[in-house]
Symmetry: C2
Subunit: 122 residues, 2 copies
Amino acid sequence: MPTRRGDLFDPVCPTRLLLDRIGGKWTSMLVKTLADDGGEVRFAELQRRARGVSRKMLTQTLRDLEHDGLVARRVEATVPPAVHYSLTPLGHSLVGPLDALRDWAETNMPVVDRNRRRRLRR
Amino acid sequence: MPTRRGDLFDPVCPTRLLLDRIGGKWTSMLVKTLADDGGEVRFAELQRRARGVSRKMLTQTLRDLEHDGLVARRVEATVPPAVHYSLTPLGHSLVGPLDALRDWAETNMPVVDRNRRRRLRR
DNA sequence: CGGCATCCCCCACGATACTG
DNA sequence: CAGTATCGTGGGGGATGCCG
């Protein structure tokens, strides 16, 4: 078996791959948006809810999620086209673990002064 | 209350801050190493266990973890110095949620062919 | 031994413009 | 409406060297 369970030190270990995904700037909020809705959400609606995301990053993030089987994409061939996104069952199964992280963060993450963005740096 | 629970769309929401941390290349494996050990681990030992980490990134990651109260640093003022790292209680409390993520990843993360590193890119 | 300082590279991400 | 194409940039992260 190529992937030993728990071997975070393997550069291609599943945990690292997952963290690469949900570590993306928009991934977690998109998953949460789709999870909260429960059904299908259109592209423009997603962009409206994820305040600040560019169309490029929205597309790219959704493509990655789709590639990993977390998100389903359905196209209505109308003019203009309507594209609907939703969580797959696999996607829904990730919501639990993600919520656990979120709960931990909201309870324990120290409140940061807005001036030092990101790291402390210097 | 400044941080609304569940507002992933707030740029400084706790979840995003947490993901910035554990999204780091070495963070999760360091936390896991310290968690598995249970006690104190020396700098050189950490570097040995986290195969591939440079001293610079090891120091930087540990500093960030320390800053967030997840890791404790203890210096023995001998020559040469001996520095010991361990998880704080707060750090230990993160292990559960992190393990949940890890379990999900190992069960559900699609096996990736080693050729396409990171995204699909093109 | 542990850890800054420095230099450099690369890629995630943003802004903008064009298209079916 | 829902994308692609292109360009530019910030900062995460690697390599190396010096230092107390």
